[in-house]
Symmetry: C2
Subunit: 326 residues, 2 copies
């Protein structure tokens, strides 16, 4: 019945496409697209039982692996490697640090296994003392000059076209769209507005200490070495509560780090959308799930199956992954 | 010259009022109103040298004493007193706590002098273990039933009409408006959307620890006892950086707790607006500044004079303070 309704909704949407172009042209006409379209129609139908007022139409998106690629290593990791290596001569004490040892040896497996935190801590020490403006410049410079090892393109080219369409479709229907990522806010804010149409204040992420100081008579914000908030796993609903202050009605993720955000979203009253992107296209992108060190999808996948969350197959549900594809 | 330009801008604005009503009818036609109107015209004039793109039109407002009253004691303090008193039987260890002693003795001077932090800490212990939903209900119930000692009205009636007009005027000109307050986010979010048109995600405030838990198979957020962020004084630019991620072009405050936010805003490149509300109307509201224990205005006032920030006299610049005035 649910699928029938979704199909009807899609038929209605398709009927309307005589006037309006399909808002999700990179999506194949399968259950995933139908589910998304039906959800948006249901919560925006003023006369329907699932109607949600615009103010409550909050949609949250993981970034790494959900809106852009994350293999062979989180892109912010690659940035941090470069930054930490550059700062190493000033930090002889790092010699015995396991994260630094793994970095120096390019031991990507060890790095992926230890998670983002130890490297974020090294990064924190590396950029401590910079003003936020100086730090922002190091990120912009890195993004402008670095290239992805597989695609030989700027990392910011590796955003998913179907998700860009979905973000625009949600906003066209009165949604507010937020990123809720384990990455640091600083690494996302310089480019996500152009890439996704998401403004800096709608980015929730991990946070490093920052302090207000007067420097040569000018007020500046200076970075400290410590992490003050990890926006990953159970931290994601906390980050949402702190910064957004409302429970989302739609959540999009791709890995176990998104599980609690999806659970928290799905547990709200009324109609909800929970969606996982499954990386199953080794040819056009990467294929990985339960055994991966980066973007592991295991518990969240089981939960998705148990709760009828939408699971997107990148291979079959997305006609096109990147804008640069022919 | 600056004043002349402002006067011209106001004349142009007044000329337009043949078609459109004055957006700031509760403001007297003095230098404060002229300065605000001229600023908005300058940053929205596409052909002018001070033009600012809509995405960068960020305006930040202190809450207590800037958007609503704060005397004889911050309203959140009064809420916390009630909450802490109710929880006291469960916390015999509070007997030797100076903040609790001051609370028990109704020693408002001592309470005001010790600042918000010790009482916020007691409050944290009092509501620790509640889910965020349960805590939200205690706030809504308190706001619905409590009355201000001077005005005998709900506290949420004590919002300033001229500032409501200013918020609406800024938004009508493409600004995003944010609250940046020393108060806790939870205490503001339930009512500021209705009072000011500011949505929960545009509230920056002090933060208490919150943890994700599964409770009877349901995901919930539970309050912990510790404070994790004080959004006051030098914390305000930090809160802005964390949550908004852009430097505001306009900042509005009323006390020394807003000094760094005003400095940080004013120090940006291009045209900026920094404004202080001066409480000088004992009859219609309250009169206090350099010597006050609540909302002390001393250093920030000196800075305002030295830097030509706008200082609003509530007595002479505001024709009406509250909506309920005749």
């Amino acid at each position: 019945m649910r699928i029938l309704l979704a199909a009807c909704a899609l038929a209605v949407a398709s009927g309307a496409s005589a006037q309006r172009p399909d808002p999700l042209p990179s999506w194949s006409d399968g259950a995933a697209k139908q589910g998304v379209v039906a959800f948006v129609m249901a919560v925006t139908d003023r006369r329907g039982k699932d109607y949600v007022a615009p103010a409550e139409r909050i949609a949250v998106f993981d970034n790494d692996g959900t809106l852009w690629s994350e293999q062979p290593l989180y892109f912010q990791f690659v940035f941090m490697l470069d930054q930490v290596k550059a700062a190493a001569p000033k930090h002889p004490e790092w010699k015995n640090n396991p994260a630094f040892q793994a970095l120096a040896k390019h031991d990507q497996k060890a790095l992926a296994e230890m998670g983002q935190k130890p490297v974020l801590e090294l990064r924190g020490q590396a950029n401590s003392g910079m003003t936020v403006g100086e730090y922002d410049k190091t990120i912009r410079d890195w993004l402008a000059t670095s290239r992805h090892p597989k695609f030989k393109r700027p990392y910011t080219d590796l955003v998913y076209k179907p998700m860009q369409e979905l973000l625009a479709h949600l906003r066209a229907n009165g949604f507010k769209t937020f990123i809720v990522s384990g990455g640091s806010v600083e690494f996302m804010r310089p480019w996500v507005e152009k890439a996704y149409g998401i403004s800096p204040e709608q980015v929730v992420g991990s946070q490093q200490e920052v302090k207000f100081e007067m420097k040569d008579g000018k007020p500046v914000l200076v970075r400290g070495p410590n992490f003050v908030f990890m926006d990953d796993g159970p931290g994601k609903p906390v980050g949402i509560y702190r910064q957004i202050g409302r429970r989302p009605i739609a959540a999009f993720g791709n890995s176990d780090g998104d599980l609690q955000m999806l659970q928290f979203t799905a547990a709200g009253e009324g109609r909800r959308l929970a969606l996982l992107v499954h990386h199953d296209d080794a040819e056009r992108e990467f294929a990985y799930d339960r055994e991966s060190h980066v973007g592991k999808l295991d518990r969240a996948w089981d939960e998705a199956k148990a709760n009828n969350w939408i699971v997107v197959s990148m291979k079959s549900d997305w006609k096109r992954i990147f804008s640069f594809e022919k």
